[in-house]
Subunit: 130 residues, 3 copies
């Protein structure tokens, strides 16, 4: 398992980590890869990376669905919305690797989703045998 560090710069941010993940994979490795983030207010997502407007629309819709301030929230730290967004998107992602290359679709990029930043965050990357 490798640990990578991510620095986010905004409260809510989708950061393209595809190159960082790709560079963690040994040449000629074939199998699969687990990305896992050990924080409870962030997530890992694979989605379109071509048009940045998609990322903006995702952030806006998640905020619409799970507003930062919601009348019944009880958690004293005040960031329940971030926990809920993290749950909906998920903190683990499996990917396929062939001869050292991530196998992604034409428009796919891997995003680190920060929902309560800015902070320094960790992701764990583990190679799996297929």
């Amino acid at each position: 398992m490798q640990q990578l560090q991510i620095t986010t710069s905004q409260h809510t941010e989708l950061q393209d980590i595809t190159a960082k993940i790709q560079s963690s994979i040994p040449d000629d490795y074939t199998g699969s890869l687990l990305i896992y983030t050990p924080h409870t207010t962030v997530a890992i997502m694979v989605n379109e990376g071509a048009d940045p407007a998609v990322q903006g629309d995702i952030i806006a819709m998640l905020e619409h669905l799970v507003p930062w301030k919601y009348e019944t929230f009880q958690h004293a730290e005040g960031n329940s919305a971030a926990h809920i967004k993290a749950m909906l998107v998920g903190n683990d992602q499996m990917l396929i690797v062939n001869q050292g290359r991530l196998q992604l679709g034409t428009w796919e990029k891997i995003f680190f989703c920060e929902f309560d930043g800015p902070r320094t965050r960790k992701i764990w990357v583990q190679l799996h045998q297929s």
Copy 2:
């Protein structure tokens, strides 16, 4: 890794791919299986397959939560709702295989979720060692 092809016939559709996935598994294989789809407006889901009304209710609620037209969407292609539904459901699914048979619950079926069809789509299936 095997590549399977899916043809969807509606704009939004949950297609039962259980038999297709099962037939891609070698006899006597024991371990696990990753299903991954390399598109950004579709997803893979395991849920009830007995009553088709469940699938209709899922489609209706996703459309209610993430309407196709939403006032702030900026993505010029106009399909941000499909990207967001794909993110909420997820593009990867792990399953357990025992002696060549998918291990599913009584009511479980595997569904390919099309959110911006109809189109021809791909799914990738990879066997993992347990």
Copy 3:
């Protein structure tokens, strides 16, 4: 693959299963672990376990997003909301294991999410080679 049994006591409940999962792992095992639940109205989640208010806020927001009674639901059994919540949270979870210990973040716990209880439920745990 090991099968564990979970007994839920409420209709909707997030039950901390971290200790149960940890105790299913052999000493000195290093690799990863798949948790899979074969039911269609429950889910597996990793999120904050320190403040129980987070779990209450998650349950309340999921109920707000996907109300138990929704005008267009057709499924005769009446539990479509539980199927939809299960889909949004997901029925599989990958975790990393190092020398017999689950690798979790500081605040992370593993939760079994019951959305249509109380019932006796199963989870399957499978070790994977990394």
